[in-house]
Amino acid sequence: MKKSSIIGLIIIAVSIGVIISVYADSSTYGDFNDAKASETECYVSGNLDLQKSMVYNPQVDANYFSFYMKDKGGKVCKVVFFGTKPQDFEKSENIVLTGKMVGDEFHASKMLMKCPSKYNKDQVEVKATSAT
C-alpha cells in the first residue's frame, strides 16, 4: 500500500472518530421531565420563579444556593447550585442550567443567565429634570 493511502485512511478514521465523539458527548436541551427521565447531565432552560423562596446564606454555607425555576413546559422544580449566588440573579430573564436531577432536586453544575443587560438594553435613561 502506498504511504499516501495509509495517510488517507488515518485521516478518514480520525474524522469519523471526531464526528462520533461530537455526537456522543453532545447533550440535549430539555425540561425537568426529560432530565428526570434521562438521569444524565443535560441543559434545562427556563425562568426564575420569584414566588418561591431563594436561599443563599453565606454565613451558613457560602457554597449553597437554591431557588425554584419554571421550565419551558411550566413545571416548577427546586434547583440547587453548589456555589455562590450571582448578585443580579433576580433580574435574569432566562436561565440555562447544566446539571442533573437528584431525587426531586435539580443539581446544577453551571448556570448561564440572560439578563436584560445594561449593554444592549433599548432604553434611554433620562436625567430627572423639572418640566420646562
Binding site: K3, V22, S27, Y29, P58, G83, P86, Q87, K118, Y119
Partner: protein, 814 residues
C-alpha cells in the same frame, strides 16, 4: 416633521458617513482597476495608476472614518448611538480607546484599518505581484466597507453605520422634544470587564492578525490566477509567518486578559469565540510548514495552496460565528446581533467560491509531484505534522460548529456539558503527536537522510527527555496520569531536540535560530498549559458550614468558596488569610485580603502580601462584576477573586424612629455568674473578676438605701483585652441596669439582676449577628508553573520574528 434639535453636532457624523461611502466606493474602484491591470487590459500601466489613486483615497477615507468616530466618542457626543452605547463621561482616555472597538462597527473599522496599512506595505513591496494580490485585498476591503455602510439598498439594510444618531436608532418619547440632548446625562459606558489594559491592545493585535491572514490567501490566489504556481510560496512565506506571529500574540493576549480580568479561573475555556480564532491560526501554522516543505523539496504543493486558502476562509468563518448571532446561547461573549447574517455569509461565500473556482480551473496544470516522499525526509514529516494540525482543527471546528449544524439541519443539539474535558481528551493526543514530530523532524534532512545517524541523535534526545520527564512529573505532581506524563515527555522531547538545534545555531548556523526558538516556545507552552490546567488547586476550600460527609462533598459540592469576616484570620493551605476591609476608587471597590505564611515552629511570619480583588458595585443594577487579583511568583500564582459581597447600599441603613439599639443584636444569652467564673462566647472569653460594691454611676446621685453594684469584667478576644464594668442600680423601688458595649467585638454586656438566693449575679450577653460584620465570599486558586505558559508564548513569538527576518533575507538574495 421638522423638529430642530438643540445642541446636536451633526457635522462629525455627516463627515464620517461621507468617509464610509467614500471608502466603499474607492475600494470597489481599486478592486476593478487592479483587476483590469492584472489581466493586462491596457499595457501602459494606466489601470495601475487609477488603482493606486483609488487605494490612496481609500486609505484616507478609512483614516477619516476612524478620526470622525474617535472625535465623537472622545467628546462624548451622545447624540450618536455608538458613543452613547459604548462610552461614558467617567471613562479615562485609554478606556475611551477600548470603547472605540467594543462594538461591531468599531472592530470592523479596526480590521479595515489594518488591511489598509498592510495594503500600503504591499503597494511598495509586492512589485510584480502588486496588481493580482491587491485585487484580492481590495475585494476584501469592499466587503468590510460594506459592513459599515448602514444604508438601505432595495429595501435591504446593508451594514451598520457607527454614525447613526441615537434618535434614529431608538424610539422613545423623549426624542420628540427639541432639547432631548440636555436630558441625556451620560452614555451607557464600557462593559466593566473590558476596562482592563489588555483590552486596549488585545483587539488591535488580534485584528491585525486577522487582516494579515488575507495576504497568504491573496498570494495563493494570485499564483493560481497568474499561473505563477511556484513563485508565490517564497514571497508569501514571510507574510504567513507575520500573520501567525501577530495572530498568535493576539490570542495569547486575550487569554491573559481572561486570566487577569475574568473570574472563571483560568486562561482557556474552549469557548466558541476563542476557538474561532485558534482554528485559522493552527491551519496557517500548518500552511507555513508545508510551504517550507514545498520550497525545499517540491512536495506538498496542493496542501500549501489549500491551507493558505482555507486559513483566510476560516478567519471569515470565525467572524461569521462571533458576529452573526448564530452562537446564541452557546457563548457568553459573542457580539450582539446586528442583523448582518446574510452579509457575513456572502463574504465567506464569495472568497470560498473564488478559491474553489480557481483551483478547479487550474487543476490540470498544477505542479503535483510525481514521486512519493521518502520516509526519512524532512518534507514527509512536515507534511504529516500539518495533517495532524488540520485534524486537531477539524475536531475543534466540529464541536464549535454545533449551533451552525442546528441551524442547517433544524436540529436542537446542545454542546457537550463537560466542554473542557471533551476538547482536552482529543487535543491532548494531537498535542503529543505534534510535539513528537516537531522534535525528531529537526534531525531529518530534506530529500533523504541517513537513518543510522538519525536514530542515534533521536535516541540521545529521547533518553534525556525521559529523565527530564520523570523529574518534571515528580516535581509537578502529575506522575499519576498517563496522558499528562506522555504530553510532558513529548513536549520535553521537542524542547530538548530544538535546544540542540539552538545550540548549533549559536555556534554559527544563525539562520536556524528562529524555528528552533519557536519550537522550544511551543513545547514550554504545552507543558505550562497542561501543568497549570491539570494541577491548579482551589485553596479556599470551605471547611465550615453544614457537613454532608466527605463523599457527598466531593461529588456534589466542591465548596470552593469561603466566607471571610473582617479581621478574622482563616487558614488556607499554607496561608493565613485575613480580610482587612475595603476601599472604593471610582466605580471599583477593592477588598484588601492579607496573606501570611507563618512558620509553624517559630510562629514568625515568613512572608506577607496583600491582594486587592475588586468588584464593580452597581447599586442600581444590584449586581457586582468581580475581577481577580493575582500574586505572581516565578513558579506559581495565587489567584483570588470575590464571589459574593454585601451590596453597599444595604449596609448603610439610617437610624429611624422606634429603632432601638437592641435591634442590632441577637437574642441575649443569660448567665448566672459569680467572681472567678469565665464564660466562652463566640469569639471571646469573658472573665468575671470581682464585684464592685461602690460603683458610681455618672450623673446619678445615690441616696440612702439605694444600691449600686458593678461587675468587673475582663473580655479576652484574640490578643486584645477589654475591661468593662456594667452596673446594676436599685433606686427606690425600681431597678436599672447600665450595660456596656464593646463596639469592636459587636458585643453588649448587661448586669441584669442580683439573685441573693443563689448567691449569683445575672449577666446578659448580647452579640451582633455575624452578618453585621463585614464579610466577603471569595475563591482562591493556586496555579503552579503557569509562567511556563506565558514564557513559552513569548519565546514562540520571538522565534516567529527571527524566522520572518530569515525568510525575508532569502527573498532578497534570490
Amino acid at each position: 416633521m421638522d423638529t430642530v434639535f438643540i445642541g446636536e453636532q451633526l457635522l462629525p457624523g455627516k463627515l464620517g458617513q461621507f468617509f464610509v461611502v467614500l471608502s466603499f466606493g474607492t475600494a470597489l474602484l481599486a478592486t476593478l482597476a487592479y483587476y483590469f491591470d492584472s489581466i493586462k487590459d491596457q499595457n501602459d500601466g494606466s489601470w495601475r495608476k487609477i488603482a493606486r489613486f483609488a487605494f490612496a483615497l481609500n486609505f484616507l477615507a478609512v483614516i477619516g472614518i476612524g478620526s470622525s468616530l474617535f472625535y465623537i466618542i472622545y467628546n462624548h457626543l451622545f447624540e450618536y448611538h455608538y458613543a452613547w452605547a459604548h462610552s461614558s463621561r467617567s471613562l479615562p482616555v485609554y478606556y475611551i480607546i477600548s470603547s472605540f472597538w467594543e462594538g461591531q462597527e468599531g472592530s470592523f473599522w479596526l480590521w479595515t484599518f489594518w488591511q489598509s496599512i498592510l495594503g500600503l506595505v504591499l503597494l511598495f513591496r509586492a512589485k510584480s505581484w502588486e496588481s493580482p494580490v491587491m485585487t484580492v485585498v481590495m475585494l476584501s476591503q469592499v466587503f468590510l466597507a460594506s459592513m459599515l455602510l448602514g444604508v438601505e439598498i432595495l429595501g435591504i439594510r446593508v451594514g451598520s453605520s457607527p454614525f447613526i444618531l441615537l434618535r434614529e436608532a431608538m424610539d422613545a418619547p423623549v426624542f420628540s422634544r427639541p432639547d432631548y440632548l440636555s436630558l441625556i446625562a451620560d452614555g451607557n459606558g464600557l462593559n466593566p470587564l473590558l476596562q482592563n489594559y489588555w483590552m486596549v491592545i488585545h483587539p488591535p493585535t488580534l485584528f491585525m492578525g486577522f487582516a494579515a491572514m488575507i495576504i497568504p490567501f491573496a498570494f495563493a490566489i494570485a499564483g493560481l490566477w497568474q499561473k505563477r504556481y511556484e513563485d508565490w510560496i517564497k514571497v508569501a512565506l514571510p507574510w504567513s509567518l507575520f500573520a501567525v506571529m501577530v495572530l498568535g500574540a493576539g490570542i495569547i493576549m486575550g487569554s491573559f486578559w481572561a486570566y487577569e480580568a475574568l473570574n472563571f479561573g483560568g486562561f482557556w475555556a474552549w469557548d466558541p469565540v476563542e476557538n474561532a480564532s485558534l482554528i485559522p491560526w493552527l491551519t496557517l501554522i500548518a500552511a507555513v510548514h508545508v510551504m517550507l516543505a514545498y520550497k525545499n523539496s517540491g512536495q506538498a504543493y496542493f496542501t500549501s495552496v489549500f491551507l493558505a486558502l482555507i486559513s483566510f476562509v476560516l478567519v471569515l468563518y470565525a467572524s461569521f460565528l462571533t458576529r452573526s448571532g448564530i452562537l446564541g446561547e452557546a457563548s457568553v461573549h459573542s457580539f450582539t446581533d446586528l442583523g448582518m447574517f446574510w452579509q457575513l455569509y456572502l463574504y465567506i461565500a464569495a472568497f470560498k467560491l473564488i478559491a474553489i473556482g480557481l483551483i478547479w480551473a487550474r487543476w490540470k496544470s498544477l505542479p503535483f509531484s510525481k514521486k512519493e516522499e521518502e520516509t526519512y525526509s524532512r518534507e514527509f514529516w512536515l507534511f504529516i505534522g500539518a495533517v495532524i494540525l488540520v485534524l486537531a482543527c477539524l475536531q475543534i471546528l466540529a464541536t464549535t460548529s454545533i449551533p451552525v449544524f442546528n441551524r442547517i439541519f433544524g436540529t436542537e443539539i446542545a454542546p457537550p456539558t463537560e466542554v473542557v474535558a471533551h476538547y482536552n481528551k482529543w487535543q491532548i493526543n494531537f498535542a503529543i503527536i505534534t510535539a513528537i514530530i516537531s522534535g525528531f523532524t529537526q534531525y531529518l534532512k530534506y530529500k533523504k537522510s541517513e537513518p543510522t545517524q538519525f536514530y542515534r541523535q533521536v535516541l540521545r534526545a529521547l533518553l534525556i527527555s525521559a529523565i527530564a520527564t520523570v523529574l518534571t512529573g515528580y516535581v509537578c505532581g502529575i506522575y499519576t496520569n498517563v496522558g499528562y506524563m506522555l504530553l510532558t515527555f513529548a513536549a520535553l522531547f521537542s524542547v530538548i531536540a530544538n535546544m540542540h538545534i539552538l545550540y548549533e545555531a549559536i555556534k554559527g548556523k544563525w539562520k536556524l535560530a528562529g524555528s528552533a526558538l519557536a519550537h522550544v516556545g511551543f513545547g514550554l507552552l504545552l507543558i505550562g498549559a497542561m501543568v497549570a490546567a491539570a494541577t491548579n488547586k482551589v485553596i479556599s476550600i470551605n471547611t465550615s458550614g453544614i457537613g454532608f460527609g466527605d463523599a457527598f462533598a466531593k461529588d456534589n459540592n466542591p465548596r470552593e468558596n469561603i466566607i471571610l469576616y473582617e479581621n478574622e484570620p482563616v487558614t488556607m493551605d499554607q496561608y493565613t488569610v485575613t480580610y482587612l476591609g475595603d476601599s472604593t476608587s471610582g466605580p471599583n471597590t477593592y477588598y484588601r485580603v492579607n496573606y501570611k505564611v507563618i512558620d509553624q515552629k517559630t510562629g514568625q511570619t515568613t512572608e506577607e502580601f496583600d491582594l486587592y480583588p475588586n468588584a464593580q458595585q452597581n447599586a442600581k443594577m444590584r449586581q457586582i462584576i468581580a475581577s481577580p487579583d493575582t500574586r505572581h511568583y516565578l513558579w506559581k500564582d495565587i489567584y483570588t477573586h470575590v464571589s459574593s459581597v454585601p451590596l453597599k447600599e444595604e449596609k448603610e441603613h439610617e437610624a429611624h424612629e422606634g429603632h432601638t439599639d437592641e435591634e442590632d443584636y441577637g437574642k441575649p444569652v443569660v448567665y448566672q455568674v459569680k467572681p472567678g467564673d469565665s464564660i466562652r462566647v463566640r469569639d471571646a472569653i469573658i472573665r468575671v473578676k470581682s464585684v464592685n460594691r461602690q460603683a458610681k454611676i455618672q450623673n446619678i446621685p445615690l441616696s440612702k438605701g439605694d444600691l449600686s453594684v458593678a461587675l468587673n469584667l475582663e473580655v479576652l478576644a484574640g490578643k486584645k483585652t477589654y475591661q468593662v464594668e456594667p452596673a446594676f442600680l436599685i433606686k427606690g423601688n425600681n431597678s436599672y441596669d447600665f450595660g456596656k458595649t464593646i463596639d469592636e467585638l459587636g458585643m453588649k454586656l448587661r448586669f441584669t439582676n442580683i439573685l441573693p438566693k443563689e448567691d449569683k449575679l445575672e449577666l446578659s450577653i448580647y452579640q451582633k449577628p455575624k452578618a453585621e460584620k463585614n464579610w466577603i465570599v471569595m475563591k482562591a486558586i493556586m496555579f503552579p508553573y503557569i509562567n511556563l505558559f506565558w514564557a513559552g508564548a513569548i519565546i514562540m513569538t520571538i522565534g516567529f520574528l527571527l524566522s520572518i527576518f530569515r525568510r525575508n533575507k532569502e527573498l532578497k538574495i534570490n
